[in-house]
């Protein structure tokens, strides 16, 4: 009986170990695909979507990781193919500078308002 138990434990531990080995890649695929926009579905990331496009994207991301590409290189690859729109975080450029600066201005402006109100009281 003990032997059977032991074998069972060893078996399950190796399974978990093997699973973790594989999971390493899929975790990264998840992480990257969450940051990529699914171009044919509205308002979904590649990670969320089950469309043909998104499924293929995930396979391709997995392949790229196996080729030894890192996260940045993979984003660059997709940007090169589909343009800036595919990544959720826009780069700071002439077109997107307002997008980045406006919240900052509003934040500072709001802060000034609050400080003035508090100091008046």
């Amino acid at each position: 009986m003990k032997k059977i138990k032991l074998i069972f434990y060893i078996f399950s531990f190796t399974l978990i170990f093997l699973n973790n080995l594989n999971a390493d890649n899929s975790q990264q695929v998840d992480k990257i695909s969450k940051n990529l926009r699914c171009l044919i579905c509205q308002g979904q990331s590649v990670y969320d979507s089950q469309s043909d496009f998104a499924l293929s994207m995930k396979i391709l991301i997995d392949k790229k990781i196996n080729e030894g590409k890192n996260e940045k290189e993979i984003y660059a690859f997709f940007k090169n193919k589909y343009g800036e729109w595919i990544v959720y975080e826009p780069e700071i450029s002439q077109n997107t500078i307002l997008l980045w600066v406006i919240p900052l201005i509003l934040f500072i402006f709001g802060g000034i308002l609050i400080i003035r109100k508090v100091s008046i009281k």
Partner: protein, 176 residues
């Protein structure tokens, strides 16, 4: 006086917001690649549909003249609609059409071609859709007009009379 100014500001602001949303309504919802992504990945290796032979895309693209890459699938309805236009293009005998069979069953693809006719000079297989992504496609059908490894024109969605005319115009123009 002060109240009036506030009132005007509120109205102006709501008009501004209304205007922005109204403008947004007119914008197309569908994504279209904003820049013309010119270069095409020609080093991709495909399998042929019929004999599963491996072919590099580069070998199929004629460097001196135009060729067309068309991504299709037997399960895709718009592909059936555009098939007639591809046949018309084929009948012009001026341009090589390379078909990429996207996420399809081999038997269905062959049946599709025998039913509707085969406009392709070569049919390549993309089983998991990754190669189409490397080409920059987002789905089926999609058509690229290529010259010298550069995408001259990219059509997302099925071909129609207008697009066909445009393709023929471009080919003619270049030939003269």
């Amino acid at each position: 006086m002060n109240k009036n100014i506030k009132f005007i500001i509120i109205i102006l602001f709501s008009l501004f917001v209304f205007f922005i949303f109204y403008k947004g309504l007119e914008k197309p919802n569908n994504y279209l690649p904003e820049k013309n992504l010119n270069k095409i990945e020609t080093s991709l290796v495909f399998k042929n549909l019929n004999d599963q032979k491996e072919i590099i895309l580069e070998e199929l693209i004629n460097n001196n003249s135009f060729s067309i890459i068309n991504i299709w699938a037997s399960w895709c309805l718009p592909c059936r609609d555009e098939h007639a236009y591809l046949l018309k293009l084929r009948n012009l005998n001026k341009i090589d059409i390379i078909g990429i069979n996207y996420k399809d069953k081999k038997s269905n693809a062959i049946e599709f071609l025998s039913d509707l006719g085969n406009p392709y000079h070569e049919v390549l297989v993309d089983l998991d859709g990754t190669k189409s992504i490397e080409l920059g496609a987002i789905g089926v059908p999609e058509t690229y007009l290529i010259n010298n490894k550069i995408v001259v024109k990219k059509y997302v969605g099925p071909l129609d009379d207008i697009k066909l005319k445009e393709i023929i115009e471009i080919i003619k123009y270049e030939k003269n």
